[in-house]
Symmetry: C2
Subunit: 560 residues, 2 copies
């Protein structure tokens, strides 16, 4: 028996419809099930599937349509009861003092009057109008909805630009503003890497890989997949690059895009090259990796994350450029191959400035830079290897930290069987005291290390890492990453001075504090905000005018 | 007051001397302390430091010398008592049924008669003679000792080669044979990547980074830092490359070296290119990365680990090459950018064979290869995004696994807020049933995935990974790694047939089972073996002939 059930004026979002569909399909005696809103497109689909009924013709986009094959009348009655139970449960959602639920934008703003960001996930046909209404109230918009026309996107982005506001999307899958996840977003550590991307999963992958490499994210800002095409011309992308360059929490910027339009690409890279902060550019489909000035090319998403962490480090604190006289890297190794790798990377990066000088355990000694292998035979004759007795490094380490020429000290800490039971514990007090003395003199030096070891090693990777970090050491995920991070410190530039209008505008304010949010649509996006104590009001949107789109447009025109 | 104490015929290794020195230096009333064996070099050092006494001139290399500044006679008496207490404790070490302690090689072989590997960490002056004695008894040698002459090294390696034995070292810091750590070694997962290197910390770093990327190690074989120089000519290196190519546990070989001699380098790469297994070559100081046939160049140690894991996968099981008709990669994505990244990497790797065909969510469709973005608008109109409802992929996934053309299926699993609460749980039964059906037909397909998420995501990275792995999915650490792993499957070659002499020889036997070990020297190296239930006998070596080196050499000459 084919059952058709229409429940008028009972708008449900696509997630809830999916849940209802799954519930019904799992019931005894129920075969094929279709559950959808009565939009013109859905009505066409049902007609083409031979499910035309009188009810169908009259249904509006605010009506729920359910069609199901059932084995008998009993199953049919059970089906109708299940539908009505589900819809009545949805009509009286659990309320919470933490998340008020309202039915209009005016009401939402009355409850949370200083709201500065809205998440919009209403159906595409209605999304542009909702977004416009929000921008006109000076609220930044995260527009999750898809199926919004390019024309609407350009108009919305121009409006946002004129008012100094940010609109992320349409079809913006993910973002993270000041540690607050929006849409599809992963739980990652906060830090000093700012991401901007015309790509949802691209942003997610780079955030996740940064987290695995022990880096952290300041903001991740989605643009929508079309922002960097010729049609939209990067209206949001250019805004965001400027905003991240001026953002106090961001030290390194990562730009992720599917292939941008050639004209947009050229403008983007020109802008990136003029920024004060290093930019990692991951432009998909451009296989060759190039570094041009402060713009670092990446070949893959995981590659972009690695380069960003190498530039930004793993500490979520503001980096300061070295003083002009701090021009040297002092690398003190217990492992000979680590020393050789460091000498090779430094020589490659600094080029003919540096020429390697061997002997006495030095792998490199030029221009103030020093790379020493303390495991060299000259240091181990008649005494234990420095992996067994790391204290042989202490005096040189204290001197390197104190040397006014030093910009960065690089160390290895080798764990494992046979090695010292607590090599980090031997280094930590020397670093701690050295840095304290510098602070007293108003100076600073970066002490960078990598730990060669695993969680199952007797010394335990995470324990050794924590000991080092407490002493002020920046711990990078590999020796190559530690050396490249030290090199990036030499290249740090002072922040721009002068024109600060953007930082003072609405986008600057959005990035400088935790957002206060109106969630328009899918309730799931609000749940995570409540969990994290983000101020949020749930606006249970439904189509007005019974879902009649022309009537809605007329109302929109009258309202504005 | 300067105290000098000599304790004749009381050999202590450098670790124990360091411990004694630390104990004494921490005592009240004791200033500067020197503790060393009475070797000619140490005696010179003491004389130059103005500590010449009559005792010193007469001391032999088997005598312990202690010089210390103490504040008064009381402190001096306390010092002497502390020295004697320490030495008497060392003379009667705790014995254990798991680790018999013996005083001669004959005795060691009587206790563990089928021993096939010795760890030698005696002082350099005596090391070559001990190693030779062991090789002559057909025992492979891990020679930790340094300060062994090049002449001795060449002679030992020629002797080993003639007898089909392996000698790792001298100055071999680390190794791992069949999961058993030797020397300075980290606790890493077992797997199918075999390492060979003329570099201790280089091997350690690559092992650690492989472990962090969820790969595993079959063996890690150190050669000693000079093996690949012109003087030694890679005598051990060439042996080991052949042995790993024939080893059943090894699928991918990583070769690590500080810059080898140019002639050795050319021979090495020629040999590597002729092996049946892919080789990752990390030659320090060669900044450009090239792939030539099955030899993959790496720029840094962490880069070498990444490439090895991409080639080998993360499952510690034997890889089989695809059948000739299995020539296609089917990549089914919920994330659009992942699909774009995959299409880009596949096109780059397979070149003009593949030309991208867009439309209908296909990012690539050519030569049997398919990359589909199931989040494309054509699939999401009127229904949830596949990150919310991953079941939209199930039918295509089942078909891709069943397709006889398929060599590898590539998937993304996206975690985070907003995403499905258990995406791996939706995929797992489809993969499980698909692979079971293939096994029934004597076939197989690689199903490769990456999980975009963190441990703090609601779905929990490690939980989702475990669900996938139980279903037979190979989980790689990033999407780029998953795609490259799928590409490496297309390039797998059958194992060599024919000449198998090496596998049947002593090295083949060494690699095919857990070693049985004689530890000659530093007791610490035996402790970890006991912990891991490796059969081991501790040979508490000390210099014979009262430490007189000429007398020792005479005895050696008479003995052989």
């Amino acid at each position: 028996v084919l059952y058709s059930i229409v429940r008028p004026n009972n708008y449900q979002d696509s997630l809830r419809l999916m849940r209802l569909s799954n519930t019904l399909a799992a019931s005894d005696g129920v075969g094929r099930v279709s559950v959808m809103m009565g939009t013109p497109m859905n009505k066409d689909i049902l007609r083409n599937a031979g499910m035309a009924t009188d009810d169908l013709d009259e249904a509006t986009a605010a009506d729920v349509l359910i069609f199901a094959d059932v084995v008998d009348e009993d199953a049919g009655r059970f089906l109708v009861a299940a539908v009505d139970r589900f819809l009545s449960e949805q009509a009286s959602p659990p309320t919470s003092t933490k998340m008020p639920i309202v039915r209009s934008l005016d009401h939402a703003l009355a409850v949370l009057e200083d709201a500065n960001l809205a998440i919009v996930s209403v159906p595409g046909d209605y999304a542009a109008a909702e977004a416009r209404r929000l921008l006109e109230r000076d609220i930044n918009v995260f527009l999750f909805s898809d199926n919004v026309s390019v024309g609407d996107e350009v108009a919305l982005k121009k409006l946002a630009g004129d008012r100094g506001l940010l609109i992320m999307g349409p079809d913006c899958g993910t973002a993270c503003i000041h540690g607050v996840p929006l849409g599809f977003a992963n739980a990652v550590a906060e830090g000093n890497i700012g991401l901007v991307g015309a790509s949802g999963t691209g942003l997610q992958e780079v955030m996740v890989q940064i987290d695995r490499l022990r880096g952290g994210v300041s903001h991740a800002i989605g643009l929508g997949g079309r922002d960097l095409t010729a049609a939209v011309g990067g209206l949001a992308g250019f805004q965001v690059l400027h905003a991240l360059d001026e953002d106090a929490r961001t030290d390194v910027i990562v730009l992720i895009s599917k292939p941008p339009g050639p004209e947009v690409r050229a403008r983007l890279l020109r802008l990136a090259a003029g920024l004060s902060k290093p930019v990692v550019a991951m432009l998909l489909g451009e296989p060759s990796r190039h570094d041009v000035g402060n713009v670092h090319g990446a070949r893959t998403l995981d590659d972009a994350a690695r380069i960003a962490v190498e530039l930004a480090g793993t500490h979520p604190r503001r980096l300061t450029p070295p003083r002009p006289d701090q021009r040297a890297i002092k690398a003190l190794y217990t492992g000979g191959t680590f020393a050789a790798e460091a000498a090779s990377l430094i020589t490659e990066s600094l080029g003919p400035v540096v020429s390697a000088a061997h002997g006495d355990g030095y792998l490199l000694r030029a221009g103030g830079h020093e790379v020493i292998d303390l495991g060299d035979d000259v240091y181990t004759r008649g005494r234990p290897h420095p992996m067994i007795d790391p204290s042989v490094r202490n005096d040189r380490l204290a001197a390197a930290i104190a040397d006014p020429q030093t910009a960065a000290v690089v160390l290895d800490v080798v764990l494992g069987y046979g090695a010292h039971p607590d090599p980090a514990g031997v280094l930590a007090p020397v670093v701690d005291q050295g840095l304290a003395a510098l602070r007293g003199a108003g100076r600073n030096v970066a002490v960078v290390a990598s730990v060669c070891g695993t969680e199952r090693d007797p010394q335990v990777l995470s324990v050794q890492t924590a000991t080092l970090e407490q002493a002020g050491v920046e711990v990078m995920p590999s020796n190559a990453a530690a050396v490249r991070h030290a090199l990036s410190i030499l290249n740090r530039r002072p922040a721009p001075v002068g024109d600060r209008h953007a930082a003072a505008g609405p986008i600057g304010r959005l990035l400088s504090q935790r957002p206060r949010i109106i969630n328009v649509g899918l309730r799931e996006f609000a749940d995570v905000l409540v969990e994290r104590d983000v101020p949020v009001v749930q606006y249970d949107w439904r189509p007005v005018a019974g879902g009649d789109r022309r009537m809605q447009q007329l109302l929109d025109a009258l309202g504005s």
